[in-house]
């Protein structure tokens, strides 16, 4: 009876998927949700690939998944994934459904699933990965994820003993997860800009996880990422198996070394967090048995960071850059603010990280604004910031409190009016910082920005 129910769920899901795709939809959530509704055991019964790589963590999981999928595809591997859809149970169910034959057996041998941290609780009892990659654990949305210790507990409680972990040794929190599981670590050597004291508003690891003593950092990259130790009990960050050294953002190279040797890679991006993402992908590929030379060649031949996260185009006298900055995630926005504000040249910013879903249903909890390092945006070189969208007044006030000079600030509730407040200085850049649920809106704001930039250029 259960098998019949599963087959019915599978076929109905597949039918839904076919119809939705014919209508131009991605069909990456609803078919899975329907299948689970019809057959709650769908995840357990669906055929699965032999090799499943699950990627979770607060920041970087989408980019890491995309890089792994790109690298595997270059090597002729047909990969089942949830790249275009949801990273929750329904999204992964939709992905499994799409990968099943009508008999319920999987057509794929390899899967890469981006997995929401909280979803692990519902997923891992039925879909057990061979590898679990945890990019990092930071404070995220306080509403969904509370705090990183809580999320670490959720993952740990869900994790089967058989799963091999690929962990960030520079994160003293997530690197401690599930000590019973086999593991390898990746990490980035000390960088020139590293510090020892935390300069960020969020610092999730002040106390030793073993004895509650005060942690000391030999170096700290940002927030709690770095090399930590406890003078009281001897706790210290683990040693990396995959180590990035000589990270050079001028030459755009880094060297990755492991037990089999080392290789110099061209960096995909000039940001530290993307260096971590690239290193993570290399670590996964090395674990799967691929050689450094081949991985490097695949990066060189075009495996890169998807443009939905970062995209730049020329318009008039300026460069218009779309940069995702996940709203309600103070840490992700802090990292983006730090990165953008440290870019060379003059920059103007449009901030539209408002949570559009919340704006429709109730009102966004803006407490995260005060955990986020808006102070980075007072750096010289940022000549104008336009706060836009439903929470524009909150952003405006936060920017003032952060010390951004009032004359640099503008406020525009309608997002599409924001470009009219820009100056479009010749040779400068316009960054549009948008939330994960605002890609379409950001594209419209970007189009309007480019239009106004062209007009501004021709009228000068």
């Amino acid at each position: 009876m259960s098998f019949i129910r599963f087959i019915i769920a599978l076929w109905i899901g597949k039918l839904m998927r076919a119809i939705m795709r014919a209508l131009g939809r991605n069909a990456t959530y609803l078919p899975g949700a329907a299948a689970l509704r019809i057959c709650p055991e769908f995840l357990a019964r669906a055929g699965k690939p032999e090799m499943i790589i699950s990627v979770t963590g607060t920041n970087g999981k989408t980019t890491v998944c995309n890089l792994i999928i790109g690298l595997l595809t270059r090597n002729g591997v047909s990969v089942l994934h949830n790249r275009l859809g949801s990273n929750t149970v329904a999204g992964i169910a939709a992905s499994l459904l799409s990968g099943c034959k009508l008999t319920g057996k999987s057509r794929f041998r390899t899967a890469v699933f981006e997995t929401d941290e909280r979803t692990t609780r519902l997923l891992f009892p039925h879909v057990i990965p061979n590898y679990l990659v945890i990019t990092n654990l930071f404070s995220d949305s306080i509403m969904r994820n509370a705090h990183p210790e809580f999320i670490m507990g959720v993952i740990e409680n869900a994790l089967p003993n058989t799963v091999k972990l690929i962990l960030n040794c520079d994160d003293p929190l997530s690197s401690r997860i599930a000590p019973r599981n086999a593991r390898v670590y990746f990490g980035v050597d000390r960088l020139d800009d590293d510090v020892t004291e935390c300069v960020n508003r969020i610092n999730d690891m002040r106390l030793c996880p073993e004895c509650d003593g005060a942690l000391v950092y030999d170096y700290r990259r940002y927030h709690h990422i770095g090399r930590a130790r406890c003078p009281s009990c001897g706790f210290r960050s683990p040693t990396p198996d995959y180590r990035a050294s000589r990270v050079d953002f001028d030459a755009m190279t880094m060297t990755v070394s492991d037990a089999d040797g080392e290789c110099e890679y061209a960096l995909l991006s000039d940001s530290v967090f993307n260096a971590y993402n690239q290193l993570t992908a290399v670590a996964v590929m090395r674990e799967l048995g691929y050689e450094h030379a081949g991985i490097r060649a695949d990066f060189d031949s075009g495996v890169t960071i998807p443009s939905s996260r970062y995209n730049e185009e020329r318009a008039g006298d300026v460069t218009v850059i779309m940069q995702m900055a996940k709203g309600k995630n103070a840490l992700a926005c802090s990292r983006v603010f730090d990165y953008v504000s440290s870019r060379p040249g003059e920059k103007e910013l449009i901030l539209i990280m408002n949570d559009l879903h919340d704006a429709k249903k109730w009102s966004e909890n803006t407490s995260w604004l005060y955990d986020c390092d808006f102070e980075f945006l007072r750096r010289d070189g940022i000549t104008r910031i336009v706060a836009a969208g439903p929470r524009a007044l909150d952003y405006y006030y936060r920017l003032l409190l952060a010390g951004v000079p009032e004359e640099r600030l503008r406020c525009s509730v309608p997002e599409l009016d924001a470009p009219a407040h820009l100056e479009f200085r010749r040779g400068g850049s316009v960054y549009i910082l948008y939330g994960a649920d605002a890609i379409e809106l950001a594209e419209r704001v970007s189009a309007e920005t480019k239009r106004v930039a062209e007009v501004s250029c021709h009228s000068n």
Binding site: F150, L207, N365, Y370, L393
Partner: protein
């Protein structure tokens, strides 16, 4: 705290390290603040404050001005029921206890009153508070919309003399400039002018309009 220190030039902030004797027990301070922590942090804080329980109680009775936000009010109640068979013993200064439900996080908006001041705020928490004994203690805020100490309770937070505790999250003073100004007045500050007060009031007025709008969902 940043808001208050910027509003009062020359204000001195004393941070008490974990397990150190709280500074406000030995010196006159205008405000003592304690904020949210993780569940593990709550247990550490409860045990770290326990040696000073009687002195903290005496200071509250003497009128020490204390503000506790987020889940910090729970530390002043009797205990926290962790929901897994464990409990964290707290200071026992108020006849309340908290109960956690780690699988169901409560997220909600709040609209309330502090005397005649409209209060807006956000809640995001695993636990709620139950009243065990009705002393003379008041609630800090009267609920207009949203949850009080727990959903359905019209009382939000705790108040005794100048002790003020609320589940509302950390930018409580920032999103409520009239309340922040009242606090500055009560503290006897030379000024109750807030930094960028016009911008603060614009954001506050807009949020108040939203929260009063019956079409705005309040979560929970």
């Amino acid at each position: 705290m940043e808001l208050l220190t910027r509003a009062v030039p020359g204000a001195v902030v004393v941070e008490t390290p974990l397990r150190a004797r709280p500074a406000f027990l030995d010196r006159d301070v205008d405000l003592c603040y304690i904020g949210s922590s993780t569940e593990r942090g709550q247990a550490i804080a409860a045990s770290a404050l326990a040696p000073w329980r009687d002195e903290i109680s005496a200071r509250i009775d003497d009128g020490a001005r204390i503000l506790a936000t987020g889940n910090a009010p729970e530390l002043f109640g009797e205990y926290i029921d962790c929901g897994d068979g464990h409990r964290v013993e707290c200071l026992g200064l108020f006849g309340v206890h908290a109960k956690r439900d780690m699988l169901n996080r409560y997220n909600g908006l709040f609209l309330g009153k502090y005397d005649n001041i409209d209060i807006v705020g956000f809640k995001s928490q695993f636990s709620h508070m139950w009243t065990d004994s009705e002393d003379d203690d008041e609630a800090l805020f009267e609920v207009v919309r949203g949850a009080g100490r727990r959903p359905g309770d019209r009382r939000e937070g705790l108040r005794r003399n100048n002790f003020m505790a609320s589940y509302l999250l950390g930018p409580l003073l920032i999103v409520n400039p009239p309340f922040a100004k009242q606090l500055l007045r009560d503290m006897g500050a030379d000024t109750n002018e807030l930094p960028f007060e016009r911008a603060a009031m614009d954001a506050y007025d807009a949020r108040l309009r939203e929260f009063r709008d019956p079409k705005t969902g309040f979560g929970g």
